[in-house]
Structures are given as structure tokens and as C-alpha cells.
């Protein structure tokens, strides 16, 4: 039961000459909620599709509950739920018909949960999918992924089309579901506050690499902004340890650094005769600074 829900080793994906993901290795344990952050084109969707076996890695492998993602047997698939970025519903059908079709593929289906969600999210079971708004379709896609109570939920920007109220309801439901038993959740989003609120661990993808993998507190402790003040008019030729980016202003330099410690600060101040002021950052600021 304690086997990793997802296990990837040396995962690489390239499209022709372009490497989209480089050498990723990670694990998702049961009970963890992973928030995947990255700007457009960072490789989030590609990573989630590799997990599902929808796409083949150029090298390396992904295992879902011990089975290779490309060849997941039925009993493993029963433990996986997925919400795609754009809905993949059968537009000719009604909500109830679509739910019945998908439910028929699973031996167990939580009809009570689905009817509760239909009520709470205002989705009419008799509505024809074709006539529903994008947000309503997204709610239905989420319900379809929840219905068989999967042990691993993979969600690709699930809240992108939802209004703030529906987003809040969805997040509450996700918290409730992830708290049940040992369910693992991997979800990508552009909305940093959602990830901050939900995720027990954060992955930040930058240019196809896992720039950060860890919990939010460690990330906040690790990445900080420095205000370096110096006396002269010209910017000294600094070598800032662990620098991510830096900007020079009049008589000061602002730098974002990783793993800055008091010892490093002391030696830096002595070496360049400067004063350094360290500032903690929130997740959104960290994300913006990483991509500046």
C-alpha cells in the first residue's frame, strides 16, 4: 500500500531537436498533494501526459503504482483519475448519459458523491453537454474524474475555466478528497494562490527542468531577495552565491538568491564592503522572480 503512486526516473521528452523535459526524477507518495507550477510551454502538460502514458518518453520511464505508464493494466487504471485541460466530453449526450457511459467502465462508482457534486456545483443532469458553458463542462470533467474515487488524481489546470465560486468549491472538494485515505494528487495550475493553499509539495518547472521540488516552507526559506547597498557610483563586479537574477539600481543591487545563509552573508559583506538586507518572498513572488 505504501508503494509510490508515481515514480519517474531520468525522464526526458523531446520533440524533434527541442528538449521539452530534461532528465526528471521524482516520486509522488500516497497522501501527497503536488502542485505543478510553470509558465506556458514549461512542460507541465507534457509531464502529466507522460504520467498517464498518453505520450511516450524519449528516454527514462514513469511508473504508476509500480506499472509502467505506457502499459498500465486495468486494475491500475481503475486507481487513476484525470482531468484534462480542455474537456473531452461527448457533446451530443446529456450530463446523465455521459456520467453513465464513464461509470460503466468502473466496477465501483460513487453515485452519491456525483449527485452531491451536481447539486453543489449547479450542474443539471438533464442538460445537454453541447449547450453548457465552458466552466460547466469543466465541472463535469472534474466529476467524471472523481466518480470512481481514484487513488491518484492527475489534474491539468482544472480550475482555468471556473468562476471564483466554483473554483473555491472545487478546491474544498479536492481538499476533502485528498484527505481521504492515502490519495495522491498531482495538479498543475497558473493560479499560484491555489497551489499555495492546497499543495503539500511544489514542483516548479522551468525550461523543462525541475527547478524546485519540495514543500512550500522550504521553498520560502530557500529563495529570498537581497538588497545589496554599496557606497560607490559604479556597480561593483559582484559574484553573488546562488544568484537567480539580479538588477542594478543607483547605489544598490537587488538579487534573488537560493540557499542564502547568515554565514554566506557575513563573508559576502566582508568581501565587497557592502550591506545586505534579506527579504522573504511569497510563492507568487518567487515564481515571478524565477521567470524574470
Amino acid at each position: 500500500m505504501n508503494e509510490p503512486a508515481v515514480q519517474a526516473s531520468r525522464l526526458r521528452k523531446s520533440f524533434g531537436p527541442r528538449d521539452v523535459l530534461h532528465d526528471l526524477s521524482f516520486e509522488v507518495r500516497p497522501g501527497e498533494v503536488i502542485g505543478v507550477l510553470g509558465k506556458n510551454g514549461a512542460g507541465k502538460t507534457t509531464l502529466l501526459e507522460l504520467m498517464l502514458g498518453y505520450s511516450t518518453p524519449s528516454s527514462g520511464e514513469v511508473r504508476i503504482f509500480g506499472a509502467e505508464s505506457q502499459r498500465m493494466p486495468g486494475d491500475v487504471k481503475r486507481r487513476v483519475g484525470f482531468v484534462p485541460q480542455q474537456d473531452e466530453l461527448l457533446y451530443q449526450l446529456t450530463v446523465a448519459e455521459q456520467l453513465r457511459v464513464i461509470a460503466s467502465f468502473y466496477p465501483k462508482w460513487d453515485h452519491e458523491l456525483i449527485s452531491r457534486l451536481c447539486g453543489a456545483w449547479g450542474v443539471d443532469p438533464q442538460a445537454r453537454i453541447k449547450s453548457m458553458s465552458v466552466g460547466e463542462r469543466q465541472k463535469l470533467s472534474i466529476m467524471l474524474a472523481f466518480g470512481h474515487r481514484p487513488d491518484l488524481l492527475i489534474l491539468d489546470e482544472p480550475v482555468a475555466s471556473l468562476d471564483p465560486l466554483a473554483r473555491r468549491q472545487f478546491l474544498e472538494q479536492l481538499v476533502e478528497l485528498s484527505a481521504e485515505g492515502q490519495r495522491a494528487v498531482v495538479f498543475s495550475s497558473h493560479i499560484v494562490s491555489d497551489i499555495e493553499r492546497l499543495a503539500s509539495r511544489i514542483w516548479i518547472l522551468k525550461e523543462g527542468r525541475l527547478f524546485w521540488e519540495g514543500d512550500l516552507e522550504s521553498l520560502k526559506e530557500s529563495v529570498s531577495r537581497l538588497h545589496i547597498r554599496f557606497g560607490g557610483a559604479t556597480v561593483p563586479n559582484f559574484e553573488i552565491p546562488g544568484v537567480i537574477n539580479q538588477r542594478a539600481q543607483a547605489q544598490s543591487v537587488t538579487a534573488v538568491v537560493r540557499d542564502w545563509t547568515p554565514a554566506i552573508q557575513q563573508s559576502f559583506e566582508e568581501r565587497y564592503s557592502v550591506t545586505v538586507e534579506q527579504e522573504s518572498l511569497g510563492l507568487e513572488e518567487i515564481f515571478l522572480e524565477l521567470h524574470r
Binding site: K77, E88, I102
Partner: protein
């Protein structure tokens, strides 16, 4: 098994239209069983069976789109046993829709020869022969159903020229298969079974291995970076024609003429058949206009004219495209008319028919500012049936030409009505109502 059962039920009853078609089809088939078994035998005893079989088949028309959508989406990776269950549902659907024809044929034969079961069974060779008939009709029904589903898939999933072209190619294949020489019963059964086995094995292997094939193909495509397209062809045509997909009539001309040329090779030569084929081709020629409402939004956003002016521009563009296609069809008709021995009067009527077919379908296409709903579907069927009836009437040597002329005049009047209807709809076009919602080929970026 539960999933396969649910899929089958969804194919036949998923929407109100398919539900009614299925029920109507089944009722008509049951009624024709009654007619065959209990009413006096006439040449019209299967009159109810044909519409019943057609309705039952179209009752399951949701199948290709549903299977295509589920098998191409992420669902195929996540749903347990998705591909095998979908494949099973496809095969069972084909077997089910062909079943009524397979059962009705020997019943009709039984009723026609004896009507008394004890007597019928005594004549072993009659019993065996009727079983043979059942096998032939059933296997032929399966083959026809498979090709018609492929046709529906191409036409409904790729609602563009390439899709229609593939659909027509499928119909040509079906026509070529059906036009095979008449053979002995046993030979025909064997040939049908071989065809079925071949199609099912190839389809099943392709369907089950599709993800692998797709990945392999995508890998090959991606490893060959394409040079930036700067050929003159990409900039040909006016902007409006490019936006509406009306810049290359030659493709449609080739698509329409190829099956017609193949038909010459098959030796089909009766004037009636040619007029019917050309009437169908003229409808396809005009069908290109159905994309205009959805595609015209980009034009509206950058133009300053009224919706009426937009309609005029779109109409001119449609005719710049369809005019060439129509010209090609008329030239083909004149050529083939001489070859098939059509009289001058038949030629004149044929040309009028082709012109009217293109005009009617062009305005029917331009009318679709709210997508295809029941009234538009009914109108489309009426137009198609009327053209077919006039084609058959024209080819009939015994008919009086004033009747054909009156029918053509009625069609011309209908074309005028459709144009005004299209124009009035464009005056209040709402682009959110004519957007293309069904996009089965969704690639998540």
C-alpha cells in the same frame, strides 16, 4: 461487459433523434415481419422493411463519433480496458444493425415459397437455400454497415473538405464492392466472409495499436523539421476566399470527378444513374458553403459594413468557388451525356438539375447560422430527395417534359426561398450559435 452494453445503449438511444430513429426502425421492421408472414404476398411486401432498416441504421449513427472521441482523447489511457471495450461495442453494433436484414430475407423467402413451416422444413434444399440467403444478406449487411460507419465518421468528425472527400472515397469503395459480378451462393458467402474477416482484423489491429502508431508517426513528423512555408500557393486567392476556405476549388473538382471517372470504369452507363450521381455531386459542391457562417466572424471583426454587406461578400466568395465546381460538373455532364446516349432534352434538364443542386445546397449551407438543427436537417433531406426524384424522372423516357420542367421550376423557387432565408438569417447572425463545438481531434498543448 457492462461498459460494452452501456456503449451500445448510448449509440442507439443517446440523443432524442437516435432514440426515435431506433424505435421507429424497430417498429417498422416488426411490422414488415408481420406483413411478410401474415399478409398476402405482393411485390411490395418489403416496403416497410427498407425504411425500417435505414432508420435502425441511422439510429446507431452516434457510434462512429462516440468511439472516435473516446479513443482519441485521454480517456483511452485512463478508462480501464477502453480500447478493447470500444472495439467490442463497434463489432456488436455492426452485427446488430445487419441482423434485421439477415432475418427478414429468409422469412420473405419462406413466406414466398411455402408459408407452412412443416412443409418448408421437409424440403431440405429449400431450407438450406434460405439459410444461405440469410448468410449472404447478413454478411453483406455487415460489410455495408462498416463502410457506412466509416463514411459517417469521416463526414461528421472532419467537417471540412478533406472529410467529405474521404467520405466520398468510402462510398466509391462501397459502390465498387457492391458492383462485383454476380456469383454462386456459396462463392458469395465465402467472398463476404473473407472480406469481413479482413476488414475486422485490419480494423481491430489498427484500432488497438493506434496509440503506438500515432506516437511513431508523431515522432517521425517531429524529427523532420519543416521549412517555413513561403510558397506562392499559401498566399494565393483573396483574403475573404482564404478565410472562408473558398480559395481552391480545384481540390473539390478533383475530389468530385475522381469517383465519377472511376464509375465510368465500372461500366455504369444508364442516363438515370449518371443524373443521380451528378445531382449528388452538385449538392456536395454547394456544401462547402456551410462553413461560411462560423468562419465569417473574423471578417466581421475587421470590416465596417453591415451584416447584410457581409452576406453579399460571403455569397460572392461562395460563388467564386462553387462556380468553378459547377462548370466542371456541367462539362462532365455534357461529355458523359453524349457517351450515355442522353437526349438533348435530358441534357438540358440534367444541366438545370446540376445547377439547381449547387444553388440549393449553397444557400442551404449559408443558412446554417445556428448550426444544424431539426428544421435544417429536414430541409436538407427534402432537397436531396427532390433532386433524386427529378433525376430519376428526367431519365425516364416515357415522362412528359413539362412535368420535369415544372419540378425544376419548383426547385428554382425553393432556391429563391432559401436565399432569402439565408439573407434574413445573416442579418441577425450570432457567431456564438454557429461555432464548431465538436472538436474530436483535441491536442492538449
Amino acid at each position: 461487459m457492462r461498459a460494452v452494453g452501456r456503449l451500445l445503449l448510448t449509440y442507439f438511444t443517446g440523443t432524442t433523434a437516435t432514440r426515435w430513429l431506433t424505435i421507429t426502425g424497430l417498429l417498422l421492421i416488426l411490422a414488415s415481419v408481420y406483413v411478410v408472414l401474415y399478409l398476402p404476398q405482393t411485390e411490395h411486401m418489403l416496403a416497410l422493411a427498407w425504411p425500417g432498416l435505414i432508420a435502425f441504421f441511422f439510429g446507431s449513427s452516434l457510434m462512429p463519433l462516440t468511439v472516435g472521441r473516446l479513443s482519441q482523447s485521454h480517456s483511452s489511457c485512463v478508462l480501464p480496458g477502453a480500447r478493447i471495450k470500444l472495439l467490442a461495442s463497434v463489432i456488436l453494433t455492426v452485427m446488430l444493425v445487419a441482423l434485421p436484414a439477415g432475418l427478414l430475407a429468409p422469412l420473405a423467402f419462406f413466406a414466398g415459397t411455402s408459408g407452412n413451416i412443416d412443409e418448408f422444413l421437409k424440403w431440405t434444399h429449400l431450407f438450406e437455400w434460405s439459410l444461405g440467403i440469410m448468410l449472404i444478406v447478413y454478411t453483406s449487411g455487415c460489410i455495408v454497415a462498416i463502410w457506412l460507419y466509416v463514411f459517417i465518421w469521416f463526414v461528421s468528425s472532419e467537417r471540412k473538405l478533406a472529410g467529405y472527400a474521404k467520405g466520398i472515397a468510402v462510398l466509391v469503395v462501397l459502390a465498387l464492392i457492391s458492383a462485383g459480378e454476380s456469383r454462386e451462393e456459396a462463392e458469395l458467402v465465402e467472398s463476404n466472409l473473407k472480406q469481413l474477416a479482413f476488414v475486422l482484423v485490419v480494423f481491430s489491429a489498427g484500432f488497438l495499436n493506434w496509440p503506438r502508431l500515432k506516437r511513431w508517426y508523431a515522432g517521425r513528423q517531429r524529427s523532420q523539421p519543416r521549412a517555413a512555408s513561403t510558397s506562392a500557393r499559401d498566399f494565393a486567392g483573396s483574403e475573404i476566399d482564404l478565410l472562408l476556405g473558398n480559395s481552391r476549388p480545384w481540390i473539390l473538382i478533383a475530389v468530385l470527378l475522381l469517383p465519377l471517372v472511376l464509375t465510368i470504369r465500372m461500366g455504369v452507363g444508364s442516363p438515370g444513374m449518371w443524373l443521380l450521381y451528378l445531382a449528388i455531386a452538385s449538392v456536395v459542391a454547394g456544401g462547402n458553403a456551410e462553413k461560411a457562417p462560423a468562419r465569417s466572424r473574423a471578417l466581421w471583426l475587421r470590416s465596417e459594413g453591415s451584416r447584410g454587406a457581409l452576406f453579399d461578400a460571403v455569397e460572392r466568395s461562395a460563388w467564386r468557388h462553387n462556380g468553378f465546381v459547377l462548370l466542371a460538373l456541367v462539362l462532365f455532364l455534357l461529355g458523359i451525356g453524349a457517351f450515355a446516349g442522353m437526349s438533348p432534352a435530358q441534357m438540358v434538364a440534367g444541366v438545370s438539375l446540376v445547377v439547381l443542386g449547387t444553388v440549393l445546397s449553397t444557400y442551404l449551407g449559408l443558412m446554417l447560422t445556428r448550426g444544424v438543427r431539426v428544421p435544417e436537417s429536414v430541409l436538407g433531406i427534402i432537397v436531396m430527395m427532390s433532386l433524386a426524384v427529378v433525376a430519376v424522372m428526367t431519365a425516364n423516357d416515357g415522362i412528359r417534359y413539362w412535368i420535369v420542367a415544372a419540378a425544376l421550376a419548383a426547385l428554382a423557387a425553393l432556391a429563391g426561398i432559401l436565399r432569402s432565408l439565408a439573407r434574413s438569417r445573416w442579418a441577425r447572425i450570432d457567431w456564438s450559435s454557429c461555432r464548431r463545438d465538436a472538436q474530436p481531434n483535441m491536442r492538449i498543448g
